[in-house]
Symmetry: C2
Subunit: 352 residues, 2 copies
């Protein structure tokens, strides 16, 4: 039996030759649950990491917690975010936390230096340590805490798998993806909440529901539309300066939602086509995942030539060395995704 | 025909399941040029990047330039280094530069923030920009500049492929690896000097010469021994605080030399066995390359149990999340490298 190896999607070049490469799998599903396109193995669970944040945020609205705490659109967007810890992100998080009557120590996410370089440098210059509010997941944690408060559930332990907040999240993601997460592998995410294994197929199905929520119960449709609209209204909130999610949503805010996750995951919801996309680069490299997602968006004609040019630093990056010389590229391999898509998981043997 | 895919060497786990993986190739050669062990494709050129620095430094000694500029052991070690830009590194580089009568602008490597976090933070706090001396390659560039000065060659353009300094480097590496680099693919490295494509087999052969230089001409033997001894005398110079190269050489300075290169490359020279090791992770991930090299060193019994424990943060790292919880591991896959090594390039089909 031959090993089932995902194909190379993205390659790194130097001096015109390939220096490194990124294998991965990707798929597009519609909101009926039907597979539209697939490349590689999309039926083995992967950890979606932060790519699943918009789904994790749904119970915050469905339970009424968002209304109880009078969440504004910036806070709703921050609930879906992996933000850069910039002044604008932290200010929104802080005001929300204070309105909830909470303190930094209530957030179980831990602290890390802001993703955004200047925000980090400002802390260093001021001799200050980052707090849990600078954590890229602080918005998600505030939404979870707000849900516990609104439901009268204990705040302590809100991040543990058996807490009602997390069980509600798990069940909601199960319903949206069509996968029973109670049976799924579970890992602890970088920010201490559980992250359940989901297939790329299931993840794409879930994102197709985000793209086209019409078949869902009304309260869920409303929750998804409010989250989509909040992100569209201020795409900065969902990522930040110099980030692909913010840049692409900024150009196409009424047409799509995209979200990155750690270890090479990306998802997208394309509203007009009513489809969801999910991909993971096998080795976890963000540089591979970003270029792969951009290429699929272009292949589906969601990005046109002008978008491509405007997003070139993410979609078709050149590698500049320390002296500023252009020494290589990050690009999709020839024929992908513009070649004939694979509609079943291929084996290496069957394909060349 | 089946695609020739390198095997998975290293996996990243979360919650006990595999989240991401790193494929790669590796080999061990002896100083007669014979292959001892090989895993995957070791006969296609890769860019060795900074892993080749000790070979790039050989002409600096062979030409007599090191003696002309009275290079001390710290400077010789820095010539082989990808250093952290720490105070100790920059001080050595600065004194050497000034003795050569040069200024920061003469180094073509460009500037970047120090690899070492505290060194970078110190610059940020002081409101200072990094200089070419903070560049991890500044020692290599000073050695090349010193060679040009000693030989009466132009300093300007010393980093260009056709400059005598680079041609001398190219020819020396060709001789040591047994590969004609004049015919090889050439890329521009991060620091602006040419980097030639070399097979992992050739790179391991070159490192075997470093491990056992006895068959070489006397001036080359002497050059290699002086570089080895310089690094052994102050392993901090070759990398720095919290770095695997420094840590492992620090424990075994009379027994081995190891060196990392960008995009997932690692080399080692094992003096007693008289062998060289070269490996590259396909996707370029440092985390994969480091764990793979440590595993090969353990397999060859160069690291014992006590070494393994002391080097665990590099050799068998656990992934701690933002809140300090142990959420996963970076580890070699079961059976590697302890399974039966492959002595020819395998195809995926032939192996499972």
């Amino acid at each position: 039996m031959s090993e089932n190896v995902n194909h190379v999607l993205v390659e790194i070049t130097r001096g015109g030759v390939v220096e490194s490469l990124h294998r991965g799998a990707a798929c597009v599903f519609d909101s009926t649950g039907a597979r539209v396109l697939a490349w590689g193995n999309v039926e083995t669970p992967i950890f979606p990491r932060s790519a699943v944040k918009i789904l994790q945020a749904v119970p915050f609205l469905e339970t009424g917690a968002a209304d109880v705490c009078q969440a504004n659109f910036n806070e709703l967007a921050l609930a879906c975010a992996s933000h850069g810890g910039e002044r604008g992100h932290v200010a929104v998080a802080r005001a929300w936390m204070e309105r909830l009557g909470l303190e930094e120590g209530h957030l179980a996410c831990g602290a890390h230096m802001p993703y955004e370089t200047e925000a980090g440098n400002a802390l260093i210059r001021a001799g200050e340590a980052p707090t849990t509010l600078h954590n890229n997941c602080s918005g998600k944690h505030l939404a979870m805490l707000a849900t516990a408060l609104a439901k009268g559930e204990p705040v302590a332990g809100y991040h543990e798998p058996e807490h009602p907040v997390q069980r509600r999240v798990r069940d909601t993601i199960s319903e949206l993806t069509g996968e029973d997460l109670a049976q799924a592998p579970v890992g602890i995410d970088g920010c201490s909440v559980p992250n359940w294994g989901i297939t790329l197929a299931g993840l794409a199905r879930g994102m197709a529901r985000v793209a086209d929520p019409r078949g869902l119960k009304v309260v869920r449709q409303s929750a998804i539309r409010r989250l989509r609209n909040a992100v569209a209204r201020n795409p900065f909130m969902v990522a930040g300066t110099g980030r692909f999610c913010t840049a692409v949503i900024g150009r196409k805010s009424t047409e799509l939602y995209v979200k990155t996750g750690a270890e090479g995951v990306y998802v997208a919801a394309l509203y007009e086509l009513g489809v969801g996309i999910a991909l993971k680069v096998d080795d976890g490299a963000k540089r591979g995942a970003e270029v792969a997602l951009a290429a699929i968006l272009r292949y589906l004609e969601v990005l046109d030539d002008a978008d491509w040019e405007a997003l070139a630093e993410f979609a078709a990056p050149h590698i500049l060395n320390r002296a500023g010389r252009d020494v290589g590229e990050i690009r999709t391999v020839a024929g992908w995704p513009h070649g004939r898509p694979q509609t079943a998981e291929p084996s290496e043997t069957a394909k060349t």
